[in-house]
């Protein structure tokens, strides 16, 4: 339950499902949109993590 990637994936999953059903009506459109948002959130967070890596805390 405390695995960072799992928690981040769960958050991304819930947000992607939410926005898919909020903004898309058609089933095909929903499928495409869901994966786009899910991937953007997950890969974006990982990319951001890597970009922040060289900067020490504090």
């Amino acid at each position: 339950m405390l695995d960072h990637l799992a928690l981040m994936s769960l958050d991304a999953l819930l947000i992607a499902v939410f926005f898919t059903f909020l903004w898309k009506r058609d089933r095909r459109e929903r499928f495409r949109y869901f994966w786009k948002v899910f991937a953007a959130l997950l890969l974006g967070a990982i990319a951001l993590g890597w970009l922040m890596y060289p900067f020490p805390r504090g």
């Binding site: 960072h4 928690l7 958050d11 819930l14 939410f18 909020l22």
Partner: protein, 133 residues
């Protein structure tokens, strides 16, 4: 159901009452507007996020003196409606700062509240006819 039939149907409650219902119970606004499938999905997503947030030792943020950002966070958390009040009554969501999952828990709680607030806008759009589905 055909869009035309939906559009011609009048909302079951005045807009203000619908918005309050939608705020208090995630998905109820859409359910009252007969968007059953979407109501179920929204309710499931928001309740899941909220419960996970509590399980991860997240904090139901309240406004703190000298911290104006806490007011914004409080508004987002308040977006959870009845879930927020129920958790408060049960003394949940105090937040365990030392927990490794604390920040994640807070994020889930903020996210669920903001998603529910977005649903209010969606309910408004449906009732005002800007959205026909």
């Amino acid at each position: 159901m055909a869009d035309g039939a939906r559009q011609s149907r009048r909302p079951p409650l005045p807009l203000a009452a619908l918005l309050i219902a939608a705020w208090l119970v995630p998905g109820l606004g859409h359910l009252l507007l007969r968007r059953r499938a979407r109501a179920a999905v929204f309710a499931a997503v928001i309740v899941t996020a909220f419960v996970v947030g509590l399980l991860l030792d997240g904090e139901l943020i309240t406004p703190k003196n000298g911290d104006p950002l806490s007011l914004l966070a409080f508004i987002a958390i308040l977006g959870n409606g009845a879930l927020f009040f129920a958790a408060r009554l049960l003394d949940l969501g105090q937040g365990v700062v030392t927990s490794p999952a604390f920040e994640y828990g807070k994020t889930f709680l903020l996210t669920s509240g903001m998603m529910n607030l977005l649903l209010l806008l969606d309910v408004h759009d449906i009732v005002s006819g800007r959205k026909d589905w």
